[in-house]
Symmetry: C2
Subunit: 169 residues, 2 copies
């Protein structure tokens, strides 16, 4: 028998959620990265992905201005650096250094890709929608890359423990 | 070293994805249910969730008209019925019968909740956005319920194998 739960308790029970690192440029054109779990697909054809970005995030203005982002799915080996991207702000530190992750040129967009990710989607923003304290940015996938040997990426539980799950089961 | 992947191969590598059953009413007011993996949160406050629904889905018109849906996270025990909801259309069968799942009254919305789900979010549509071949429906969570003993729900891999993952790790 189900019972009424507080919104926070209910949301915790919907975990684990996929954990991605979204890379982008800030308003000055400097690369940044942030942890994003609120991400999913939005269309088969064209291939659209969406990310929900908090208005308070440093990267929000940069994505709005530059209209590009990359969704990177870090592997278990990249967990520490991926967490740095989620736990700190580009206002305070340069995450391309502090995270220890390898930021490399993307194929089709100006913002970088995190090398070694299990998979990455380069996106150009084709629409956005205000949703409460977040903006949903919808991006068309203009290039996709992956690391053939990496069969897992990260999921985060309600208490921020990281799981690595494979996609080949 | 990452290499360029086809969009389909890249997307497969972003799995496993959470697997939910969205319940709604059709245009005649009859309950229906569909499998939805393209779901995530869109705002902390207000508590907003979003689902991407294919234009071709039978439930699309019903959600658009009735402005309500429930996101149910089925447990491992509900896997078979949850898959029926994902693999068939409400045009052809009555999934409230064919799935074997227990459709019960929701607290705040007219469409049913699937009893025994690990967690469920009752949503009222507050906005929508056309995204290619899908519509993103944004819903405010007006009630949330859960099954206190159920610590797992379903994830689907790229080849449609179901995993049950706990949120208490």
């Amino acid at each position: 028998m189900m019972k009424t739960l507080s919104p926070d308790d209910a949301f915790a029970r919907s975990a684990p959620m996929v954990y991605t690192v979204v890379t982008c440029l800030d308003e000055l054109g400097k690369p940044n990265a942030l942890g994003v779990s609120w991400v999913t697909r939005a269309s088969w054809s064209p291939f659209l992905m969406l990310v929900s970005i908090d208005h308070s995030r440093y990267s929000h203005a940069g994505i709005r201005q530059n209209r590009e982002f990359v969704i990177n799915y870090p592997t278990k080996e990249q967990e520490k650096g991926a967490l740095v991207c989620g736990m700190s702000s580009g206002r305070d530190i340069d995450k391309t250094v502090a995270s220890g992750l390898a930021f490399v040129n993307s194929e089709k967009v100006r913002c970088p890709t995190i090398d070694g990710s299990a998979v990455s989607f380069e996106c150009r923003v084709i629409g956005e929608m205000e949703t409460g304290d977040h903006t949903v940015f919808v991006g068309e996938v203009v290039a996709s890359k992956g690391h053939p040997e990496e069969q897992n990426h990260l999921y985060v539980t309600h208490n921020f423990t990281m799981l690595a799950l494979g996609n080949e089961e």
